[in-house]
Symmetry: C2
Subunit: 185 residues, 2 copies
Amino acid sequence: MTDVEKAVPVAAPAEGAGGGRAGVVGAVLRQWRTQDLLDRSGSALRAGAWALSLLAFLVMACNEHGDWKQFDRYEEYRYIVAIGLLAFVYTTLQLLRQGVRLSGGQDLQPKTGLLVDFAGDQVTAYLMMSALSAAIPITNRMREGTDNVFTDSSAASISMAFLAFVCLAFSALISGFKLAKQTYI
Amino acid sequence: MTDVEKAVPVAAPAEGAGGGRAGVVGAVLRQWRTQDLLDRSGSALRAGAWALSLLAFLVMACNEHGDWKQFDRYEEYRYIVAIGLLAFVYTTLQLLRQGVRLSGGQDLQPKTGLLVDFAGDQVTAYLMMSALSAAIPITNRMREGTDNVFTDSSAASISMAFLAFVCLAFSALISGFKLAKQTYI
């Protein structure tokens, strides 16, 4: 009886400590998994923004059908080409940077890197929103009069720009979250 | 002598503990001050956005000078009135909520409150950017032809909308930071 009574208090703390260790490991694993999920969604969103801004830019830049149906006669359409190109260059550089990081190359300081990520994503998202909003009213007005390949291509380019904006906005959300976490912990 | 020797070891740990306590108190005070600064800048930015969106909305809504110089004949200008009003209502509700909170009334759950703050600020900032970008090209085109009180009022309203956007964007930055901090700590 005394042996059992002696063993119980020893066993109980040991089990407690084991449970605690499993809890800590579980918490760390969960945090890693969250981190991994954030990283993966961030990359996926940037790749999406890359493809969509390339499409928005190309569709509009090829939108030349002579006479008044030339994209470069309208400042709104020139703006969407410029911002589409900018977003494409930005996301390309980000994807290249990520490739360098994954292959073990040198990257920016972690804090600077996160700040660049967040500021870049957020500013590009605002610019994209601005460009697509500027191009909508003139396209609407043209389509009231006539519907042809020029107005349809403009509408397609605007839709691609909107989808690229959505990707960039979510990417800014994720990188802002990572930045705030890094700053405080 | 023994009285003094007795007194010293008692005094020393007390002083050490006092220093430790002062360090902790200092850290807590510093955190409070940061928190306070964030809260205060958040409130100031919301108050700024309130005033500027009210101005943007009023200046455009009073922009009626007969014939083609009526804001409600152009969808871009109707859009800026609608979004200006929405931003005004949103910031008014936020300021009222803050008043209730300061006077000790009931508020949302902390997490829900921060989420509402961030989502509201960010969405309003995107909408504001969209509305002012849509209104710029048509104003530009009108001013190429003629410069009168109608086009000047439109330009003034767009500028106010831009300043309101800047306030909302920074406010979104601050509330996003608070939300991320709250979620992780």
